[in-house]
Amino acid sequence: MAATFFGEVVRAPCRAGTEDEEEEEEEGRRETPEDGEVRQQLARKREVRLLRRQAKTTLEVSLLEKYPCSKFIIAIGNNAVAFLSSFIMNSGVWEEVGCAKLWNEWCRTVDTTHLSPTEAFCVFYHLKSNPSVVLCQCSCYVAEDQQYQWLEKVFGSCPRKNMQVTILTCRHVTDYKTSESTSSLHTPFLKALKTQNAREPPCCSLLEQPNIVPGLPAAGVLSYCQVWKISAILYLCYTDVMKLDLITAEAFKPVLSSRSLKGLVKNIPQSTEILKKLMTTNEIQSNIYT
């Protein structure tokens, strides 16, 4: 508790997040069968489902059990998705193998059976010429209570040790801790985190302590790979522009020289043009009324 200047007593937020615990305990004591029913219904609504859109069926097993791969590349967030779209997906023929359908308070997508490219989505593809390369474009928000479900639906319970996982995502530069002021940093810049069993060297410097990557699907995937001894690298782009931005998306370019992505990109200048066009189209579409 703390008293403000005007004498009102307010509850100071606790960074250990313990207010929720006390609320939960009290709710547990007061919960009626109707409350339990409502909670179960909400849990069912928030369930993560993997489906094949064309066949309109749900995947019975985890995605990587149905489509075992040697390379799994995942882009999380609009800039990482735009980068992979322009440089990797435009350099080959990719076939959609699944899509994650999920609902939460932040996700504006209601019907994931008919997705338009501008909506938030999470779609999986494999390369037609080499189906052991699987790619995921994830631009929807996965809530914290859905993250482990998402992991299970994608990776399953039998970790594949000979996979190489590459994760691309962005964070705001104000989350980066450094002894100098963050306003003096040259953004965007790339940092990496790799698992103990990582087989390839990162294409940029590693993220120094005391910096951490919390809560994103990215942290969940990298944790899974670390625990189950899978080779994985997370490339993190620190930027001061979180919306779709050419300079931020281009900051991922050094990753194209990694062993995982090298063979997948054909024509870098052409892909750069495609990325620029994607940005311009998006700018025309976006205004304060959309």
Binding site: E21, E144, S181, Q209, I212, L222, S223, V227
Partner: protein, 264 residues
């Protein structure tokens, strides 16, 4: 579930498990950091769970360039075999409604590993203290029934104060009395489960407020050290202020990055 770093599951029989509760000021977690860092404990495995928010970062206890690139996740287990000590460190908060499930899974692992005892380091909101508590030491302990016989004498010789009971429902005058630990996170749940599952468990906590909680963490480890004697004083002078607790390298920039010079 516990997943070992190596190929075989380490033998934890007879060891003391130290663990934090994610509580006000994160004091328990800071205290465990101090213990792992000072004793140079090494990682033996992960407590892989869907109950905690995921988190990754490089080695928080790095002492040199070579060991600074080991990845750490949100729940890891460290060991010091010579002292028969095992430490579980938790680095993120619980996902909503998952804290009870975590306690059950954790205590199942504790029982199946045959740990000798569990010590939970925690904290409680200092503004909830009653008048008597305000005038006494800020440290408190709690023992589960299966722990009472073995350590009661030692605890009494240390003149420690047991956590007092308070009204279960403060608004009602003739409410029953029970142990309440506001701001203690899962401490109360762990204690209740420890009692009902007959687990030898000790809770050590300090009354704190949010802020710079490093002195609170140092206080809590010294309180623990009075009993367990994890590290011995380096000289015989009892008034020597500091035992050599080593702060981990990740404790830099706890309150954010450097300030922009233009601010001044």
């Amino acid at each position: 579930m516990f997943v070992p770093c190596g190929d075989s599951v380490p033998d934890l029989a007879g060891c003391t498990l130290l663990m934090p509760a994610v509580s006000v000021g994160n004091v328990g977690q800071l205290a465990i950091d101090l213990i792992i860092s000072t004793l140079n404990m090494y990682k033996i495995g992960y407590f892989y769970t869907d109950c905690l928010v995921p988190m990754v970062g490089n080695n928080p206890y790095a002492t040199a360039e070579e060991n600074s690139t080991e990845l750490s996740i949100n729940a890891e287990v460290y060991a010091s075999p010579s002292k028969k000590l095992v430490a579980l460190q938790l680095r993120s908060i619980f996902i909503k409604y998952k804290s009870k499930s975590f306690c059950e899974k954790l205590l199942f692992w504790v029982k199946s590993s045959n740990c000798a005892k569990v010590v939970v380091l925690s904290s409680s909101h200092s503004y909830h203290r009653n008048d008597l508590q305000l005038r006494s030491t800020p440290f408190r302990y709690l023992l589960t029934p299966s722990m009472q016989k073995s350590v009661q004498n030692k605890i009494q010789s240390l003149n420690w104060e047991e956590m007092e009971k308070s009204p279960c429902i403060p608004e009602i005058d003739d409410s029953e009395f029970c142990v309440r630990i506001p701001g203690g996170g899962i401490t109360k749940t762990l204690y209740d489960e420890g009692c009902s599952k007959e687990i030898p468990m000790v809770i050590l906590l300090k009354f704190v407020s949010e802020g710079d909680n490093i002195p609170d963490a140092l206080g809590l480890v010294e309180y623990l050290n009075e009993w367990l004697q994890i590290i011995k004083p380096c000289c015989d002078d009892p008034s020597a202020s500091a035992l050599p607790w080593k702060m981990p390298s990740s404790w830099r920039l706890l309150f954010g990055s450097g300030l922009p010079p233009a601010l001044f």
